[in-house]
């Protein structure tokens, strides 16, 4: 095969045609079908076509490569110009006109341009999408075209169908075709149009190429030249023009409206933007789509429901099957509704289809809806149909900012039982825990799990306020009051105050079991902190957590230990300072109180313990030094003491189940407190002791019928902090009695609360059962 030298114009034109024929987008091979169609469009006798294919080597190769295609085109030009087909003539013939294809875009554009003068009345077409010049795929659909031809006669108006946009272009095309075919078949009409067109052409230099192209066949050379020159600017669009299905339609000398002008303009624009992306939507097109979208759905961020879209696109008179396919392609998220992007894509596809382009199997990338609402949205290029639910990973998003949802659900999660397990796993303070969990999705394990980041290490005012809110919100005003009273008392000591804050904060946040586990550790930490750095209490950044808990454990578990510890480190002042920690405990019972019913008792006890211990703590502080001795005494005496007192108060109070255990727990708590204080006195050494103490406390709890660890811990810690009771019995007794009274009050309140919660729980369960029953009853109907 000879090497082929092409002029620039020819080069461009051939490459456009090649792209047009390259239906498979291989960029190397033009599909035989298309090529043969194109050759047929050249209106050469078939034997000539055969000869051409032979000459170019396609028959040898079996397919049309780029070079073969170019050679073939050149030969077509040769043949069309009447020269004999010779291989040598490829390069020898100079000034060969470009091959003309009857059904090809050339004519379309010719028509477009010819239409111009006439389109005033086609205002609405202004925004019509002109042929997307970028369309690489051009397919002749004669039948499609014929569908429109009957309408030709009666339409001088742009709109053929109620639907404005898509029909407009086809109509425009139709008219173009008619004109073109008229031009081919009948001279006069063409001339007429040509006359009209010529001035137009002169006015529009750029886009008129096609028209020129067509007319060039029939017009004098000057036209051709202009066409040729214009070709340079226009080839892409010309090649992209879908082949106007040529059919000998009646000639419609009606001139196109401005639409064609705009079309031409747009084509020019599009051509300049390159024809690499045949499915690209131009700005004008997009604007038009948006306007159409607005007519259906004023909110641009909203959806068009499927039914409305169906009506809209049905107006385009495409077969339902194709519309269905278009829908499948464009409804990216498979939700039965179209967003603006999806709508534009669908519209674009409809227009393309009307203009004869084949529908792609997959949504072209340029038509993919941009998923913008999700941070982690990633466009899925492959619109595999078998995606189903996972089809739109981007838009679906359970991952849609899990954080906010978590933060919102956090308060609810706090109440959830399942949270407790997670809580216990945390090794930080309750405060930090709360912050942690808000960042994690305990309820949504499949959502992105954010690495826990402690937001706040130290109790802050906000935290305190939150706790206050929690407490107040939980209708436990009574419990709160004594607790609230405590802080003021404790404020005497800065350390106490701070620790109190810690405790309140912690107790406010922590609940039930969680408190138990966490607070033990946190308390230990607090203790150590306080022990080591009295001033550090204020900061107690770390898990300030309710010191009382650990204390309680300690105290409860081993009065012996406490005694031992205490004796070992008779640091009264320190202890007093340390005691500051425990006093903070009181608030804790409240959160436990607000927790689930199962912790009701515990919280009651805990709260009571808190209340008992905290008030006692302060007055007892001076007696802290004697505490250890008192411990043993307390162990023996206190039970009796408290036992006496408790029976007095308890019977008065609502006799709840918690009374008994409460009493025992109280005693234990007192012991625990002592132990806790002792432990705290040890400062850093405290860390280890709390653990064994805690364990013992647990065992003790287990021994008791209901003294659940958290409660007992709370109580224990309270008691522990309460250096209390101990020593100077006389003075202490009064204080103790006062505190006991207070504790009993709180006990009552807590018990009442507990029972109320139990009742609520029962009600809710009943409701749930009833709802389930209703659901059961309704279900069978759904099957009918």
């Amino acid at each position: 095969m000879e090497s082929l030298t092409l002029t620039d114009v020819e080069q461009k034109y051939y490459s456009d045609l090649f792209v047009y024929c390259d239906t498979d987008n291989t960029k190397k091979v033009a599909s035989n079908g298309k090529v043969l169609d194109l050759f047929r469009a050249a209106q050469l006798p078939s034997e000539v076509v055969l000869q051409i294919t032979e000459l170019c080597g396609a028959t040898r190769l079996g397919h049309f490569g780029r070079s073969q295609f170019y050679i073939a085109l050149k030969l077509i030009a040769v043949a069309q110009s009447g020269l004999p087909l010779r291989v040598e003539s490829l390069n020898s013939v100079k000034d060969l006109p470009l091959p003309r294809f009857v059904v090809a875009k050339n004519e379309q554009e010719a028509r477009h341009t010819a239409m111009y003068p006439d389109l005033e009345n086609q205002g609405p077409y202004q925004g019509v999408i002109p042929r997307p010049p970028g369309r690489g795929q051009v397919k002749k659909v004669h039948t499609f075209y014929l569908m429109f031809t009957p309408l030709q006669p009666d339409t001088t108006s742009p709109v053929v169908s109620p639907h404005q946009s898509p029909p407009t272009s086809p109509h425009a095309w139709r008219k173009h075709k008619r004109q073109a075919s008229g031009g081919n078949v009948e001279r006069p009409p063409v001339v007429v149009a040509g006359a009209v067109w010529t001035p137009f052409r002169e006015a529009q230099s750029g886009p008129v190429v096609v028209g020129d192209g067509m007319w060039s066949a029939h017009s004098p050379p000057p036209v051709q030249e202009s066409w040729v020159s214009l070709k340079d600017t226009y080839p892409p669009s010309s090649s992209k023009m879908p082949p106007m299905h040529l059919s000998p339609f009646q000639e419609n000398s009606s001139i196109r409206t401005v639409a064609s002008v705009t079309t031409a303009n747009e084509i020019q624009r599009q051509s300049s933007s390159g024809y690499d992306d045949p499915w690209k939507i131009t700005d004008e097109q997009r604007q038009y789509y948006i306007n159409q979208f607005k007519t259906i759905q004023p909110d641009l961020n909203g959806f068009i429901p499927g039914s409305a879209a169906k009506e809209f696109f049905t107006k385009s008179k495409l077969p339902i099957l194709e519309l269905s396919h278009i829908w499948e392609l464009s409804d990216f998220d498979k939700d039965g509704a179209l967003t603006l992007d999806e709508f534009c894509a669908a519209f674009h596809l409809v227009v393309a289809r009307k203009n004869g382009y084949d529908l792609p199997e997959k949504l072209p990338e340029s038509l993919m809806p941009k998923l913008i609402d999700l941070d982690d949205s990633a466009e899925v290029p492959d619109q595999a149909p078998d995606v189903g639910y996972s089809g739109s990973p981007v838009e679906v998003t359970p991952n849609k900012s899990p954080m906010p949802s978590l933060n919102q659900t956090w308060p609810d999660l706090n109440q959830g039982n399942e949270q407790w397990e997670t809580f216990s796993e945390r090794s930080s303070s309750s405060q930090t825990l709360t912050q942690f969990d808000s960042n994690i999705a305990p309820a949504d394990p499949d959502t992105a799990i954010v690495h826990p980041v402690p937001i706040r290490m130290t109790p802050s005012k906000i935290h305190m306020q939150e706790m206050e809110l929690k407490r107040t919100g939980s209708d436990h005003t009574h419990p709160t009051s004594p607790l609230m009273a405590k802080p003021p008392e404790l404020s005497e000591e800065t350390k106490l105050a701070t620790s109190m804050k810690f405790v309140t904060a912690n107790s406010g946040k922590c609940q039930g079991m969680f408190h138990y586990h966490k607070e033990l550790r946190t308390i230990a930490v607090c203790r150590s902190n306080s022990g080591t750095s009295p001033e550090g209490l204020k900061v107690a950044a770390a898990p300030p957590p309710p010191p009382p808990r650990p204390n309680a454990s300690h105290s409860r578990s081993s009065s012996l230990d406490m005694n031992r510890n205490f004796a070992a480190h008779p640091t009264g002042p320190q202890q007093s300072g340390v005691v500051a920690c425990p006093p903070a405990i009181p608030p804790r019972p409240l959160p436990t109180q607000t927790s689930g019913p199962h912790s009701g008792h515990r919280s009651d006890e805990g709260l009571a313990a808190h209340s008992t211990t905290s008030p006692q703590q302060i007055p007892e502080q001076p007696n802290f030094a004697d505490f250890s001795q008192f411990q043993a005494f307390a162990a023996s005496d206190q039970p009796s003491d408290d036992g006496e007192k408790h029976p007095e108060s308890l019977p008065v109070e609502k006799s709840t189940e918690g009374a008994g255990p409460l009493r025992t727990v109280k005693i234990d708590n007192q012991e625990d407190r002592a132990a806790a204080t002792v432990n705290s006195a040890k400062g850093s050494i405290m860390a280890p002791p709390p653990k064994p103490v805690r364990r013992r406390l647990k065992s003790e709890d287990e021994l008791q019928d209901e003294a659940l660890p958290p409660k007992s811990n709370v109580i224990a810690t309270v008691l522990a902090t309460l250096p209390s009771i101990p020593r100077s019995v006389g003075k202490d007794k009064k204080a103790i009695q006062a505190s006991i009274r207070r504790n009993k009050e709180t006990n009552t309140v807590l018990a009442r609360l507990n029972s109320e919660l139990q009742q609520q729980l029962k009600d809710l369960l009943e409701e749930r059962i009833s709802l389930e029953v209703q659901l059961e009853q309704l279900r069978p109907f759904s099957h009918l």
Binding site: G306, W327, E328, H783
Partner: protein, 169 residues
């Protein structure tokens, strides 16, 4: 190993049926049709069944039954207690086709006929196939241009089914 996949509407007419060995299509149609009876039986037996995903999956409809028998030349075996003359009974190929059913809440039934000659498919695989089918079916339903009751002509659905059948076989 799905050799045939069918979607049957509530009124028991097929919305979509496709089989891999195209030549035996009629047989598959018959198979599917007969399995409908089993499906109906299972549905009615449930009564006030909950619309549970598990309940939608009906599982194996039939025990594996012979679908095709290719007897090669059979030679009678003579044997005496003393001497045995074994003659092979060769190549009796039995294609056992297992059928699985799945019903949606709207009484649309999916039937998968699978070839059990290969490694038998695990229940989970069948369930996942049904899940995919159901998802694709809902996508087809979401298409406003699809009228319920029409045959399914969605290319997406077709490609999904082809993928399932190709992968299975």
């Amino acid at each position: 190993m799905a050799v045939c996949i069918a979607v049957i509407a509530k009124e028991n007419y097929p919305l979509y049926i496709r089989s891999v060995p195209v030549q035996n299509e009629l047989k598959f149609h018959y198979t599917v049709h007969t399995s409908l009876d089993v499906v109906e039986e299972k549905i009615s037996a449930v009564g006030k069944a909950m619309a549970d995903q598990r309940e939608l999956y009906l599982g194996l409809l039939y025990p594996t039954e012979d679908y095709k028998v290719y007897p090669s030349h059979m030679i009678i075996v003579y044997y005496t207690p003393v001497c045995m003359f074994f003659i092979l009974i060769e190549n009796i190929l039995l294609y056992r086709h297992t059928r699985y059913g799945y019903v949606t809440n709207s009484k649309v039934k999916f039937v998968i006929v699978a070839d059990s000659s290969n490694t038998s498919l695990r229940d989970n695989e069948i369930r996942s196939m049904f899940r995919k089918l159901h998802n694709s079916f809902t996508d087809v339903m979401c298409n406003p241009f699809y009228n319920p009751g029409d045959t399914i002509q969605s290319k997406a659905f077709d490609s999904m089914v082809s993928a399932m059948m190709v992968q299975a076989s």
